[in-house]
Amino acid sequence: MKLLGAGIVFVASFAALPLFTTRGDLLNLGVQIFLAVVLAQSWNLLGGYAGQINLGHAAFFGLGALVTRALWVGGTPLVLALIPGALVAMLFGLIIGVPAFRLRGAYFAIGTLGLAEILRITIGNLLPQISTIPATELASYNILPRYYLTLGMAILCVAVVALLIPSRVGLGIRAVREDEAAAEATGVSALRHKLLALALSTALSGLAGGAFAYYHVSYYPQHTFSPAWTFDAVLMSYIGGVGTVHGPVLGALFYVILRELLAVKLAEFHLIIFGTLFILVVLFLPGGLVEAWSSVRRLFVRGK
C-alpha cells in the first residue's frame, strides 16, 4: 500500500512536470527514464520473475522500432503503428520461445545473445541507410506527446507486472523460477508459464521500441538492435533489485540520471561505475538497491 502511494505521488509529479517547465533537456531526460523503465521492467518480468536470463532483449526492442517506424513514417496513425510493432515482437518471441526454452540457464542466455546478434547484423546489412523523420513531420515535432506517451507506457508496464505477479499465473511463473521440476509436479506447466512471461516481456519491449521510433528523429535501424539496450536493461534491473516490481523502476531512475550527470564530464565512464556496481550487486547484494534500502531501514527500526 505504501509503495502504491509512493508510486502515485511519483507518477503525479512526473505528469505535472511539463506544467512547470518547458526545458527541453528535462523533458528529454523524462522520456529516457520512461523508456528505461519499460525496458528494465519488461526484462525483469522474464529475467527476474521467470528466472530466464534473456540476453537478446534488444532484438524485440529493435523489431518494435522497425515495424512502428515503417508504418508511422508511411502515414499510419501512431496508435495503429505501435500495436503491430508490439505484436511482431511478441510473435517473434513466441516463435523462438519454444526451441529456446529447451535451453536451460546460461545456455538460454548465450542462445538469445546469439540470436539478437544475428538479427542486428542482418538488419544492418539490409537497411544500411539512416532513418529520418520526414521533413513535414519534423517541422511540427513536439516533445510533449512523446513525453506523455512514454510516461503512459511506463505506467502500463509497471501496472501489468504489478497485477500479474500476485495472481495465480504470476505465482506459477515464480514457481517455475524456483524449481521447474517441483512446479511441474504440482501441475504448473513450466513451458506455458515461461512462454507467457516471454510473450508479455517481448510485447512490452516491442512497444518501447515503437515509442523510441516515434521519439528519435534519426538513427540507423541497426542501432535499435544494439546489445547495449539489453545490457542497460540487465544493469538497471539488477542494480535496482531484480525480481521486484519497484526495483527496476528505481534502477532505471538511478541509472539514467547518473548516466546523464556523468556524461557531461566523463563519457563512457558511467559503464565503468555501473559495471562495477553490477558485479558487486551480483556477488554481495542480490536484492539490489531495494534490499540495501530495506536493511538500512531495519537497522533504524531496531535502533528505536
Binding site: 546469439g114 544493469l235 559495471g275
Partner: protein, 290 residues
C-alpha cells in the same frame, strides 16, 4: 580459385578461433564458470602487444613472452577478486552467476579500453607484415601462417602440461570431479585459480596474434566471445585439439559464406550453426558428460 584462396584464409583465422576457444573451454570445463568477458581479455592481450610495439618497438612475437605472463597474473587477480566467490555455489547458480559477473566485467573492460586507447581500430604493423608465400596463384600471408603454427604449438605445450605435469593432472582431476579431487588432497581452490589464469593467458596470446594479423578495437570483445562459444558448442568441452579443429571448421564455414553469401554475413553463419547445435543438443555443452 577465389574459393580456395578464401578457404586458406579461413583455415588461418580458424587457428586463432581455436586458440581463443581453448582458453574459454579450459575455464568452463574445469571451473564450470562461463566467463563471457573472455573476448575482452583477448582484447587486452591485443592492446598489450600493441603497446609494447608502439612504445618500445618490441617485436610482437617476442612481446608475447611478456604479455602471456602478465595476462596469467591478471587471471589470478580476477579469480581471487571475483570468480572465487562464484565457484562455491552449486552447478546451475554457478554458471548463471559467473555469466552475470563476466557480463559486468565485459562492460568495465570495454569502457576502460575506450578511455585508455580510444575507440579507433589498431593493428601492429611490422616491417615484414606484407610478406606473402606464393603457392601457384594462391597467396598465403606469412604472418598468419606463423600465427597458426604458433597457436598449434601452444596447444601442444598445454596438452603436455595437462597430461604430464603434476599440476596439469590436478587440473584434469578437478575437472572430472572436484569433490573426489579434494578428497585425494588436491587443493581445489589453487587448481581453479591456475586453470583460470591459464585460460586468461591463452586469451591474451590469442589477442596478441589477432593484433598482428588482423585488427583490434575496444569493441571486438563480444565478437570473439561469441566465436569462442560457437567453437565450444561445435567441438564440445574437454579436448584442446577438439577446440582447435572446431575453430578451423568455423573458419572454413565463414570462408564459404564469404564466397557464397558475401562478406557481411560471415558472422551470421557461425551464429546460426551455433543456435542449431544448441537447440538440437539442449543438454548444452556438457552433453558428453551427462
Amino acid at each position: 580459385m577465389i574459393l580456395t584462396q578464401q578457404l586458406i584464409l579461413g583455415l588461418l583465422v580458424g587457428g586463432l578461433y581455436g586458440l581463443a576457444a581453448a582458453g574459454l573451454s579450459l575455464t568452463f570445463g574445469v571451473l564450470r564458470v562461463l566467463n563471457v568477458a573472455h573476448g575482452e581479455l583477448l582484447m587486452l592481450g591485443g592492446y598489450g602487444t600493441f603497446w609494447l610495439f608502439t612504445l618500445w618497438q618490441i617485436d610482437p612475437f617476442v612481446s608475447l613472452l611478456g604479455v602471456a605472463p602478465a595476462m596469467f597474473v591478471l587471471g589470478l587477480l580476477l579469480y581471487w577478486a571475483l570468480f572465487q566467490f562464484v565457484v562455491k555455489a552449486h552447478e546451475e547458480t554457478r554458471i548463471k552467476n559467473s555469466l552475470l559477473i563476466g557480463f559486468g566485467l565485459t562492460l568495465v573492460l570495454h569502457a576502460l579500453a575506450i578511455r585508455l586507447w580510444t575507440a579507433d581500430e589498431r593493428a601492429v604493423t611490422t616491417a615484414y607484415a606484407g610478406a606473402v608465400l606464393r603457392l601457384g596463384g594462391l597467396a598465403v600471408p606469412w604472418l598468419r601462417l606463423t600465427s597458426l603454427v604458433l597457436a598449434f604449438a601452444i596447444l601442444i605445450a598445454l596438452h603436455l602440461f595437462l597430461t604430464k605435469a603434476r599440476w596439469g593432472r590436478a587440473i584434469r582431476a578437478t575437472a572430472e570431479d572436484w569433490e573426489a579431487a579434494a578428497l585425494m588432497g588436491i587443493p581445489v581452490g589453487k587448481t581453479y585459480s591456475l586453470a583460470f589464469a591459464l585460460g586468461t593467458a591463452l586469451a591474451g596470446i590469442a589477442g596478441g596474434l589477432v593484433s598482428v594479423s588482423y585488427a583490434i578495437s575496444p569493441s571486438i570483445g563480444l565478437e570473439w566471445t561469441l566465436k569462442a562459444l560457437v567453437v565450444i558448442v561445435l567441438a564440445g568441452l574437454g579436448s584442446l585439439f577438439g577446440s582447435f579443429a572446431g575453430g578451423i571448421i568455423l573458419g572454413l564455414a565463414e570462408a564459404m559464406s564469404v564466397v557464397f553469401l558475401g562478406g557481411p554475413y560471415r558472422e551470421v553463419v557461425g551464429l546460426i550453426l551455433f543456435l542449431i547445435v544448441l537447440v538440437v543438443r539442449p543438454q548444452g555443452l556438457f552433453g558428453a558428460r551427462a
